[in-house]
């Protein structure tokens, strides 16, 4: 079947498909959609490294593979070290890494494998300055092992080890800002992205491809199973997270902050619109919602100031 060029031009994302159907992600999975966009942007000439996370299952239980690209399954804490090693080995063999026609080395890890367990490997990878891209897909808990809290879980969220109720408590700590830790390494490129804005995400991936040195992208990927939300609301939730300034889209490039289009357009919507669609927030009291709303607006003002001063 041939698709005419005129149709291909109208589609706003690359047309080639290197992510195959038949993978074993849950219905409405945000991480699977993120992987599809990454493979669309980088194509076959990519080497992935994936630690223990949902994507281990999505990419294929043995003997299947849903990828059209090579993939290295690794231990939970070593994504950063492995992509650093692959990049160094490719360079020693004389291959061109990164850039327009080079081989892309991509680390794809969840929030547990990045913010908690893999943080030291990530830090080492950023500090050594390898030419690779690290993508953290953020679904705000350890979803693969059964929804345990991670340091990326937001305030007031239900997880299986913060179940709420009279004897237990809901998550009491705010979300860890991994991207600020990453930016503190003074790397050339870091950005946040959302699955609801694929054009923006693919533009950032292409930018990370061109820039020399380590790049980091934090992708907000919804998880209907863990968030106790309807499967068809995955994209809507990821979009609302951006519109309520809970997860603003911005990029950091050589010392300059820039807030991206979807986040700059309007004033943030009230956070309750984002919370009410998800079952994991249903145990929150009014005070809890106020605390979270206050935190979100505080972070948003801080980001706006950063963009103003370092713009």
């Amino acid at each position: 079947m041939e698709i005419p060029e005129s149709v291909k031009k109208r589609v706003s994302i690359p047309f080639e498909e290197h992510f195959y159907a038949g993978h074993t992600a849950c219905q409405g999975c945000g991480a699977a959609l993120g992987l599809r966009y990454v493979l669309k942007a980088y194509g076959k000439k990519t080497i992935f490294s994936i630690p223990a996370c949902c994507s281990t299952i999505i990419a294929g239980p043995w003997p299947y593979s849903a990828f059209g690209a090579p993939l290295f399954h690794t231990a939970f804490e070593t994504t950063g070290a492995v992509i650093g090693g692959i990049e160094a080995a490719l360079k020693a063999k004389g291959y061109k890494v990164k850039g327009e026609d080079g081989i892309m080395v991509v680390g794809w890890a969840g929030d547990g494998g990045t913010a908690d367990i893999g943080l030291q490997a990530l830090s080492g990878f950023l500090e050594r300055g390898h030419d690779a891209v690290y993508i953290m897909y953020d679904n705000e808990a350890y979803m693969n092992t059964g929804i345990q809290r991670s340091s990326s879980t937001p305030y007031g969220a239900w997880t299986t080890n913060t179940p709420g109720g009279k004897k237990h408590f809901l998550e009491k700590r705010h979300k860890k800002s991994v991207i600020d830790i990453v930016i503190a390494h003074d790397i050339p490129y870091a950005a946040t992205a959302s699955i609801a804005y694929p054009e923006d995400f693919i533009r950032k991936l292409k930018k990370a491809q061109k820039i020399k040195g380590p790049s980091f992208i934090q992708l907000y990927a919804s998880c209907p199973t863990g968030w106790r939300s309807p499967t068809d609301k995955s994209i809507e939730l990821a979009r609302l997270a951006v519109q309520t300034a809970y997860f603003p889209l911005y990029e950091y490039e050589n010392g300059k902050y820039k807030i991206n289009m979807p986040s700059t357009k309007k004033e943030p919507k009230p956070l309750i619109e984002f919370l009410k669609l998800q079952g994991r927030f249903k145990y929150m009291t009014k005070e809890d919602i106020e605390i979270l709303q206050e935190w979100v607006l505080k972070r948003w003002e801080l980001l706006k100031k950063k963009a103003e001063i370092f713009g």
């Binding site: 698709i3 959609l33 209907p224 068809d232």
Partner: protein, 105 residues
């Protein structure tokens, strides 16, 4: 009706695929997941109304499978072998040309 873009892959995988253990448990076949038909997971099935479609490609863009591809007139075609029935396409469709109905088997 357009053909599935994975048709060639299914044939290729069926030919080369084997259950034999490989050294180091390495997967040699890229895209071999196409023989795993996930359509049986589905409870709700997307029903498509061609008259309402404005060809914005949002369903194609947001399908996580990908179980939606485009035909030569650029209308979306649903691959019911793989569609898990998540309903993202119906939720994102601006003209409500896609509706989810309970599947009767």
């Amino acid at each position: 009706m357009a053909e599935s873009p994975f048709k060639a892959d299914i044939e290729r995988v069926k030919k080369e695929y084997s259950e034999k253990m490989t050294p180091g448990a390495v997967v040699y076949l890229p895209g071999s997941s196409v023989i795993n038909k996930t359509g049986s997971w589905r409870v709700f099935i997307p029903e498509f109304n061609k008259d309402k479609c404005v060809r914005c490609f949002l369903c194609y863009t947001y399908c996580p499978e990908p179980a939606i591809y485009l035909d030569d007139e650029s209308y979306p075609v649903f691959d019911y072998d793989y569609c898990k029935g998540c309903g993202i396409c119906a939720n994102e469709c601006p003209t409500k040309a896609i509706v989810m109905v309970r599947e009767v088997k």
